[in-house]
């Protein structure tokens, strides 16, 4: 059995998947598909506390911590955002706080989704990543075992 790919390997997987697409339309159709397939968020997490209100759409992001690893769940009312988050989760899910905090997330640029990194989009990918790293940091501080690493 192959070991689970690490963060960088997962990022590379996504980049090679996107290399197969010729057009922007194809890329977005794929992202939309990911968005539609993202497992529904447990209603108990759909709280205002977990809500990142943007100028355009809303995002809910929640994290659980088990055996030293983070487990993310998310939802959005816009499907492209949902697809983008789905990729972030694919890369950062089931990782330790330190792995998440060290993640460079370069794949977003490599697949041409830089526009979604714009600082002005308050619920853009940048703030999603920041939020995920916040969760990692919070659990790292809370968990004495993890914080020793």
């Amino acid at each position: 059995m192959n070991p689970e790919p690490n963060i960088v390997e997962t990022e590379q997987e996504i980049v090679s998947e996107f290399d197969l697409f010729d057009s922007w339309d194809d890329k977005y159709e794929y992202i939309i598909d990911l968005g539609k397939k993202l497992p529904p968020l447990d209603p108990k997490y759909k709280t205002d506390e977990n809500r990142v209100r943007g100028c355009q759409s809303s995002v809910w992001l929640a994290a659980d911590y088990k055996d030293g690893k983070l487990f993310f769940q998310a939802d959005s009312d816009a499907v492209i955002v949902k697809g983008l988050i789905s990729m972030l989760i694919r890369v950062l899910n089931k990782r330790t706080p330190d792995e998440i905090l060290d993640a460079k997330m370069d794949f977003i640029r490599e697949i041409g989704m830089t526009t979604h990194l714009a600082q002005t989009r308050s619920n853009g990918l940048l703030s999603m990543i920041k939020q995920m790293k916040h969760y990692a940091l919070a659990y790292k501080i809370k968990d004495p075992v993890a914080s020793k690493n």
């Binding site: 939309i32 100028c55 355009q56 499907v79 492209i80």
Partner: protein, 414 residues
């Protein structure tokens, strides 16, 4: 009728498009289709040339310099003031104050006139279709003074409920501030009658003309409004320039808004006396280049004629509404009888943000979101809309492309 006037009514949009270099660019490998004109219009070559010409030939600080460049720059700057004065039918050039934009114009009135004249329990009336720029300055003023903000409701077509307005007006009403044309819906509000109604109870009336100045014939004297604010960049002009018109008698007794150079007559450490109108309200070095280039934008609009621009945009809006309504699940938000140049819509099971991203993929620029009018979106119980807004250079072909794009959006998202 075969007069030269009738002949010149013919508009060749392709010739007009050639004046806008940006329309030649591609977005995502396709020719740009720019349908976000209510946010800002593109700029014709003569506006771009005016900017370059200023910086290349007579860049100087204005009003105080005695050298040639300063004199030329001052003259050009003040020519724009004269052009604006006739463009909006003001009585005198002293009533034309240059600002950064509509927002600053409204804030100027709220701070200067408002803080001097509004007291506890006074009432200010706005409407439910205002842009945040015409809500928040009044909210702050009311909070500070203990005054009351009243809001005219709107009906399902996106029109003001005027009966409610008339009920609100009373001896406590001190100011009414209303958008002339809604940025989110395109509704044209009957401000002339509303102004007369406000004056009947002794209240002042401010018009937010951000969207109207480019589409409607504006005559502030005929409207009899007390203040009228608009922006150059929605009128084919540069960003960072706006105009506040105010009646001279009001402006004269209003305290300064910002303090600094330009706005003073004499400064000693004990006491400063202020400059005359309009300079009293133009502290600091103004946006000289863009004000100068604004005149070219006014000239561009006047040389075509607003009547012809309106007729062309009306055709686009009617055709656009007719074609968009054929798209399954699409609902137009805002169906006022009097409407200009904006079509706002939602599509079942398609988030406006997704619509915007997918249209951008086809080189089509539209606006999505709440359009800085959250109370209005709440009224329609929607998070936002997709909005297309037209300018003189848009074509029916572009609407056909929009429709094709939307049909694909519906297909992908369903």
């Amino acid at each position: 009728m075969n007069s030269p006037l009738t002949k010149s009514k013919f508009l060749d949009i392709n010739v007009i498009r050639q004046e806008f270099p940006i329309l030649n660019r591609e977005v995502k490998g396709r020719p740009l289709i720019y349908l976000d004109n209510a946010a800002t219009t593109q700029k014709p070559q003569q506006v771009l040339d005016a900017l370059t010409h200023y910086y290349t030939n007579y860049n100087a600080n204005i009003h105080r310099g005695i050298h040639t460049l300063a004199e030329e720059a001052t003259a050009a700057f003040e020519h724009t003031r004269d052009a604006v004065k006739s463009f909006i039918g003001a009585g005198s050039r002293e009533e034309i104050i240059f600002t950064r934009g509509t927002t600053e114009g409204i804030n100027l009135v709220a701070y200067s006139w408002g803080r001097k004249n509004i007291q506890a329990n006074d009432e200010i009336i706005i409407s439910n279709m205002e842009h945040h720029s015409n809500i928040v300055p009044w909210q702050l003023l009311c909070e500070e003074k203990g005054a009351i903000l009243k809001v005219i409701p709107i009906n399902e077509n996106g029109e003001l409920v005027l009966d409610e307005y008339n009920k609100m007006l009373g001896p406590k009403t001190k100011l009414v501030s209303i958008v002339h044309v809604s940025n989110a819906l395109g509704t044209v509000n009957p401000v002339k009658q509303m102004i007369a109604d406000a004056h009947a109870v002794g209240a002042l009336f401010m018009v937010d003309g951000a969207q109207s100045a480019v589409h409607l014939d504006i005559n502030v004297t005929d409207l009899d409004c007390d203040f009228f604010a608009f922006s150059a960049h929605k009128l084919y002009g540069p960003t960072g320039v706006g105009v506040l018109y105010g009646k001279k008698a009001l402006l004269e007794v209003m305290p300064p808004f910002q303090a600094g150079g330009e706005m003073i007559k004499e400064v000693t450490m004990q006491k400063t006396t202020f400059n005359d109108l309009p300079y009293k309200f133009e502290a600091g070095t103004p946006n000289i280049a863009d004000v100068i280039a604004f005149k070219s934008a006014i000239h561009f609009v006047q040389s075509i004629g607003k009547e012809k621009i309106r007729r062309h945009e009306r055709d686009l809006m009617d055709y656009g509404q007719q074609e968009l309504e054929k798209i399954p699940g699409l609902r137009i938000i805002g169906k006022a009888k009097e409407k200009v140049s904006v079509i706002s819509f939602v599509i079942e099971n398609a988030h406006p943000q997704d619509i915007g991203i997918l249209l951008d993929n086809r080189g089509i620029a539209v606006r999505t979101g709440h359009h800085c009018a959250q109370p209005l979106m709440d009224h329609f119980c929607i998070p936002g809309t997709a909005r297309v807004s037209f300018a003189i250079y848009n074509t029916r072909y572009e609407i056909d492309e929009l429709v094709k794009g939307l049909l694909r959006v519906v297909k992908i998202l369903s």
